[in-house]
């Protein structure tokens, strides 16, 4: 690797040699070599499921390497849990924040490390004072006594960073720190990062926002499918270089159907609204329509209201407004069961939480929404059920040892296919897919995309939500862009450019003009 000159300015604080991490069913990391430079921003990029988060979890002691070693200052280290990593000066700010909404800012910052007199009596004044100093350093006007639940997401992120700083982190891992921040907050964060760098802190910065990475990064490491495909100082790196390393030469090829003529309009949403707590709309008068055989990609950044829109369609929000039509007929059913019966199926973003019952078998998960089809009066025909499940396992080529094994034994990609199978078994007309490629490896991804194409070919209308620009460009017939709950653009996939789509998704445009 190049950058010998920079090596002295930025000593290596931590390195991984031959790091391999095996999860049941997947190899998340394959013999990676990684160097973390102190006093610099080490940028980490890769697609969803490329192994970035796994590598960071290993460094932060949340996960352990299956093979390989981790070195700090030349000596091998082994963290059995997060506390040991913290003791070595490693802090992590996860994408999913790890805060207690019911406790105050200062209580959160000092959780499990309370400043206490004699180990018993918490010194609130001292904690409050320390918190105030941290907030000054982070240029935030957050009262140490505010319950964290009352803060905006961006502010909560700042609290999380403050928590790491309070632990004197020498290495700070930031996983997608800007995804929920406003433009102003991003600037503050960048200033904080510069300040930390000057104090010799080694920062790992994970993000999907490529321009941001180039601006803030000193070193870049690109991961693809568990392998490091590029690592170098940031000088001379441009977006095409990153993309090439992220996606590889065998660039994605999702065969588009030969412009098969679309059918009639199969689903229409009119002025769907979802009020947000404390004013405003999470989904702000969204209207859209899909035709049979068409794939509509809904693109936007996190918090754009895309998932919330799908949830409204699936009757998850009793307070949502607007009208929905399937095949031109108004949807009046108020609950999920009714919507499924009318031909709508949702493939949720969070498989574990919303898509599957982990404790149940593969067969039971696939048939969960369609038990009626195998029931006479009240008697469930187990034979017919097993045959039905098996048919879908074959059709979707789900690799299972036995349909009666728990669904939790499958890899992410196969679990996703189980969720798709469950949705398809209800014979839907419209398929809503929320980030269908999240957390599955590249091979499985391609297969899921092929399945989507195939289903559209069979006449389904598909609405899929993604925050992956390439994915939305390659897979959609039409692209709808959302930002801050509103539709900010509709493009024909054949005649638009990624830049155009990305520009429409940029948040804060409305806010800034309004403010």
């Amino acid at each position: 690797m190049s950058g010998a000159a920079g090596a002295e300015a930025y000593p290596i604080g931590l390195s991984i040699r031959g790091g391999t991490k095996i999860y049941p069913g997947t190899r998340a990391l394959k013999a990676v070599d990684f160097d973390l430079r102190m006093g610099a921003v080490n940028v980490l990029v890769g697609e969803n499921g490329a192994g970035k988060s796994t590598m960071m979890k290993v460094i932060a002691g949340i996960e352990q390497l299956t093979e390989g070693t981790m070195l700090m200052e030349g000596k091998p280290v082994h963290f059995r849990d997060k506390a040991e990593a913290v003791a070595h000066g490693i802090g992590i700010v996860n994408q999913e924040l790890n805060l207690f909404a019911n406790l105050t800012v200062s209580e959160n910052i000092f959780i499990a490390r309370e400043i206490a007199r004699g180990g018993i009596d918490i010194d609130r004044a001292a904690q409050r004072e320390a918190t105030r100093r941290l907030m000054q350093r982070l240029e935030q006007e957050i009262d140490p006594d505010t319950p964290v639940g009352n803060l905006r997401i961006g502010q909560q992120q700042i609290v999380e960073i403050a928590k790491s700083l309070a632990q004197d982190a020498r290495i700070l891992i930031l996983d997608e720190p800007t995804s929920a921040l406003s433009a102003h907050e991003v600037e503050v964060l960048f200033r904080v990062i510069e300040d930390l760098k000057a104090h010799g802190v080694g920062i790992v910065y994970i993000s999907h926002r490529l321009p941001e990475l180039i601006r803030i990064g000193d070193y870049i490491t690109v991961l693809r499918d568990g392998v490091i495909t590029g690592a170098r100082p940031m000088d001379g790196v441009d977006i095409p270089w990153i993309v090439r390393n992220m996606i590889g030469d065998a660039s994605r090829d999702f065969p588009r159907t030969e412009t098969a003529a679309f059918g009639d309009e199969i689903f229409r949403a009119e002025e769907v609204t979802l009020p947000r707590l404390g004013g405003g709309f999470a989904v702000d008068h969204v209207s859209l329509s899909v035709r049979a055989g068409e794939i509509l990609g809904v693109y936007g950044l996190m918090g754009a209201g895309r998932s919330e829109f799908l949830e409204c369609v699936m009757a998850q929000h009793p307070h949502s407004g607007g009208k929905l039509y399937v095949e031109g007929r108004l949807l009046t059913e108020p609950d999920v069961t009714g919507r499924i019966r009318r031909g709508i199926a949702l493939i949720p973003e969070d498989r574990k939480r919303d898509g599957l019952v982990q404790i149940m078998s593969i067969r039971e998960n696939i048939t969960l929404s369609s038990l009626k089809d195998f029931t006479r009066l009240f008697h469930l025909n187990l034979k017919a059920e097993a045959a039905g499940a098996l048919a879908f396992i074959k059709r979707l080529t789900i690799k299972v040892a036995s349909p009666d094994n728990p669904v939790s034994s499958l890899s992410g990609g196969n679990q996703q296919k189980v969720v798709i199978g469950k949705a398809l078994m209800t014979k839907p007309k419209v398929l809503l897919m929320d980030e269908p490629s999240r957390g599955i490896d590249i091979g499985a991804k391609a297969e899921v995309f092929r399945t989507m194409r195939h289903l559209a070919g069979e006449g389904l209308g598909i609405i899929f939500v993604t925050s992956d620009l390439d994915e939305v460009m390659a897979l959609s017939d039409r692209i709808l862009v959302m930002a801050q709950g509103r539709v900010t653009g509709i493009f024909d996939a054949a005649s638009t450019t990624p830049a155009e789509v990305a520009a429409a998704a940029a948040p804060n445009r409305h806010q800034e003009t309004a403010a």
């Binding site: 609950d335 949702l346 949720p348 898509g355 599957l356 019952v357 038990l371 469930l380 890899s411």
Partner: protein
């Protein structure tokens, strides 16, 4: 460990409740005189049946991820309602009263039990009260109602009145059919129906799904609230049966009937492999669990072991059961992963 020895051990662990039952049975057959006499077996089964009814209802509730602490009190309340109906009928206060025959009394009492279940279900699904708290509340309310009904006194001499057709009331607890006590027949029927419902009906599948992942079940179109309501109603129904059987057996109804029964029911369910975190459990396992507990306490009595020691031993057995259960879960997960690794991903 090789794959075959692992699966052999797994089978053994899976049948652990059965193994425990066999061991307990064999031990007392050897150590306690008269244990194997037909008379003793019948008496013991009658004891076990009471706990088994409650435990079956409890199993469904626990599978959905809930708990029903009120069953013991429902037993007491239902016994008192049965006693009241046998003795007085319903007296609207105009100098005449409505009297009921045995079947009508049974129906009304069952409705009372189901009614308390409906209240539990309503509190939990509509008012979002945690199951532990909701049923703790109804535990007190139902017990208080039972005490109020007689001012704390016992309803004695529930022989019934041939004029009203209620003299057959004692048949339920004391009668025999083909030489086997009626309450055992009842248990067989309830257990078979419950096992069938849990394994071969959509409702049964939904109960497991709700306990495994409530959000996921809801998004799959399962009507979660209805499922929860159903299990609390069924639990109330099971408790009503026990109240009836006890009142009939004793020919008397005492308002303290059924105190702490809920704990025995939970113990039997857990011993039978029901997971307190929901999603897992079987009716068959629960019934065997109830037998293990019942045989253990009756057998120890016959051996002349102090009742204080019995309590200690019962506790140890329950804890041991859960520890073994954990081991089985881990081993099962490992075996399944090995199988899955063989087909790749």
């Amino acid at each position: 460990m090789t794959a075959s020895s692992a699966s052999a051990l797994l089978l053994l662990l899976r049948l652990r409740t059965f193994v425990a039952l066999f061991l307990v049975f064999a031990f007392f057959a050897y150590a306690a005189p008269n244990f194997l006499s037909a008379e003793n077996i019948v008496i013991m089964s009658k004891h076990v049946a009471l706990n088994a009814f409650l435990a079956i209802g409890m199993t469904f509730v626990i599978i959905t991820g809930g708990i029903d602490l009120s069953v013991g009190s429902i037993v007491g309340l239902c016994a008192m309602v049965a006693g009241w109906l046998v003795l007085y009928g319903i007296d609207p206060g105009y100098g005449w009263s409505i009297q009921f025959n045995t079947l009508e009394i049974c129906l009304i009492v069952c409705l009372v039990g189901i009614g308390v279940g409906v209240i539990n279900g309503f509190l939990i699904t509509r008012l979002n009260v945690a199951p532990f708290i909701a049923t703790l509340g109804t535990l007190y309310v139902a017990r208080g109602a039972a005490l109020l009904s007689s001012n704390g006194a016992t309803f004695p001499n529930l022989g019934g009145n041939p004029d009203y057709g209620s003299d057959t009331f004692r048949f339920l607890g004391a009668g025999n059919l083909a030489g086997i006590p009626v309450s055992i027949w009842l248990l067989v029927i309830v257990a078979l129906l419950a096992a069938y419902a849990s394994q071969r009906t959509p409702l049964g599948r939904h109960i497991y799904a709700v306990g495994g992942n409530e959000r996921g079940a809801a998004l799959s179109g399962v009507k979660v609230n209805r499922v929860k309501m159903a299990v609390y109603m069924f639990s109330g129904f099971c408790a009503a049966l026990v109240g009836l059987v006890i009142a009939s057996q004793l020919q008397a109804a005492h308002p303290a009937t059924g105190e702490t029964f809920e704990l025995n029911a939970i113990a039997a369910a857990v011993l039978g492999g029901t997971s307190m975190s929901g999603g897992r459990g079987r009716v068959g396992g629960t019934v065997i669990g109830a037998f293990v507990i019942g045989i253990l306490s009756d057998g120890l009595v016959m051996m002349g072991v102090s009742s204080f020691w019995q309590t200690v031993i019962k506790g140890v057995v329950i804890i041991a059961a859960v520890v073994v259960d954990q081991a089985q879960q881990r081993l099962h997960a490992r075996v399944v992963l090995q199988q899955q690794a063989a087909v790749g991903h």
